[in-house]
Symmetry: C2
Subunit: 349 residues, 2 copies
């Protein structure tokens, strides 16, 4: 049925189509629906407390007995200098004044932490079939402990160099994340240089560089994109934007409207929301922030969230990719099934 079945065999899934983890958008119901339809549902767990993580894992266990993927962030927490803080407050002041909201002028407290022991303990107690990471990998011991429990490990590469780095550290498959992709760019080797490689270039060069299966991500939202990814050597695809507005998703009020209006040129990559480059709906505020040196991830949320909460659509931070206009409709399981059927048709199978 599929031209390449390595990923299906590796992850124990029927279709090599992964619904991307999207922290704040995915729900256990959404993830289970995708897995029950034969794909791999992924839950974005980066911002969950250990208690909420355990609760969601319990909900997932009750909703599907198929493979699921839990995703975590491996950013290095950083601090912000008082000078940088002061400069940011000045840069944000006109936007806060326009929104009539109080400036967050205290120094930021540490925000959510990268993958750590409490989360690892949750996973080891009830190992999911797949654990994926964004922004690199946790320490080797954590990767080994998960693999010893039978978890398959995935992570994202935005360059060939990142793919090689991940392969050397034993990941089971690599997600080649193209420039088209919505949400946070997974880059981790050179934070100051987002290489911005389009999927047409990135995917075959990653396939040539590593021996593990490569999963294509970024700009894929219909059967044509899935067929093209396989033509370029992918063993599977990861699709996010096409699932954001699924019925089971956690719907931020501004999000469906932004994604529903999304065109090829309605997004841009910005550090204004979180501090790390992320593809988001283009707004006047995001355009204005292009000249501002953002706080390190995730401290920038301290400066952006009160503004986003206070103001209307002009200030929203809606993450999605360049192919929103191609997405199917319906609930998450229907979308997975529609994508698979369209891929089969596109591949003439």
């Amino acid at each position: 049925m599929w031209p390449d079945t390595r990923l299906c065999e590796l992850l124990g899934i029927e279709h090599p189509v992964i619904q991307a983890p999207m922290a704040g958008t995915t729900t256990p119901a959404m993830v289970a629906a995708v897995s029950n339809a034969g794909g791999l549902g992924s839950h974005g767990c980066a911002t969950l407390s250990p208690e909420k993580l355990a609760e969601d894992m319990e909900a997932l266990a009750g909703a599907t007995n198929r493979s699921v993927n839990l995703n975590f962030f491996c950013h290095e927490p950083q601090e912000i200098s008082e000078d940088h803080h002061a400069a940011l407050i000045e840069a944000m002041r006109p936007h806060y004044e326009a929104a009539g909201a109080p400036l967050p002028d205290e120094m930021p407290a540490p925000s959510f932490q990268p993958f750590r022991q409490a989360q690892l303990d949750c996973l080891l107690a009830r190992p999911p079939a797949v654990v994926s990471f964004h922004f690199g990998l946790p320490e080797d011991a954590a990767v080994r402990a998960l693999k010893d429990k039978g978890c398959k490990i995935l992570s994202s590469a935005t360059t060939v160099a990142e793919a090689r780095w991940l392969a050397e550290r034993g990941v089971d498959a690599i997600i080649a994340q193209g420039w088209e992709s919505g949400g946070h760019r997974g880059l981790f080797l050179e934070l100051e240089n987002d290489a911005q490689v389009g999927l047409f270039s990135l995917l075959p060069q990653v396939v040539d560089a590593v021996d593990v299966p490569v999963i294509a991500a970024g700009g894929i939202a219909d059967g044509r994109g899935i067929a093209a990814a396989f033509a370029l050597g992918a063993a599977g695809v990861q699709i996010g934007t096409a699932f954001i507005t699924a019925d089971e998703a956690h719907r931020k009020p501004h999000h469906p409207e932004a994604v529903g209006l999304g065109t090829d040129e309605s997004t841009r990559v910005t550090r204004a929301g979180s501090g790390r480059p992320a593809r988001a709906h283009r707004t006047p505020w995001i355009d204005a922030m292009a000249q501002v040196d953002a706080a390190p991830f995730p401290l920038m949320y301290h400066y952006s969230r009160p503004l986003l909460a206070a103001d209307g659509p002009a200030h929203q931070f809606s993450l999605y990719g360049q192919s929103a206009a191609l997405a199917p409709s319906g609930n998450a399981g229907e979308r997975l099934t529609a994508l698979v059927a369209a891929a089969m048709a596109a591949m003439g199978r």
Copy 2:
């Protein structure tokens, strides 16, 4: 043989593979070799005088009786203010001092002009099978005159909106130029906003938006890329980087080395060379120029060329795309033949 033969029929070619016009790199020998091998050779004529254009057309007529494509630029000439000039000279001063070269501190003279009557007269006197434009289209009367002589008209779109604009003005086919592409971005509707759409997203959305055949460009340099482009709905492909180092190309001394060392992340889009966004080999000078407001195209050459001519590899301006590492070798005809064979293999035909 090919899954879509519309472009072959439209342009009178055997294989729907276009060697991209690359002003300053293509030669009549190179163009004829590609056309004689069954593809569409394209000559970058934007910077040629009418006399040199006529001479090259004569050489082409003697070297092939197959379809060839002649390419021109449709930029709007702009002026630069004295303040902007002064600011640029100050920004360039340290680079010129480091290179030991005299600053070009006189105001720039008008540089090469967009497509105009003298070039149109050349084409009407000996109409080529195909005429393509970059940065939009010339005035309607010129397009009509060429079409009346049987020329097929192509132009590039970097967004769906640009593709619709071109289709409404009667082009015969549209080149969807993805972000991965080397050289000048063809954008023309919003010069201040390069939408930077990756080919995975751009191509299917352009295919959905227009009725004419769509040619995929950007990041395609092997059989896998050609197969993927057809999977996304393309009727053909345009390939530049894979031909830059062909034996028949006009070889700038720095160019083969840059392209030969090219990786997925060795380029960036810059206005430093010409004034318009172009994907080029990343150098310390190009990185430094990211914060500098360039002169309008093509006046920026006045500020960049003396530096490039004076200094070593650190200051070169080598244009190529994100898939240089995938390119075949040999002369231009051999490369076309290798690309076709690889595409057939990738498509299982």
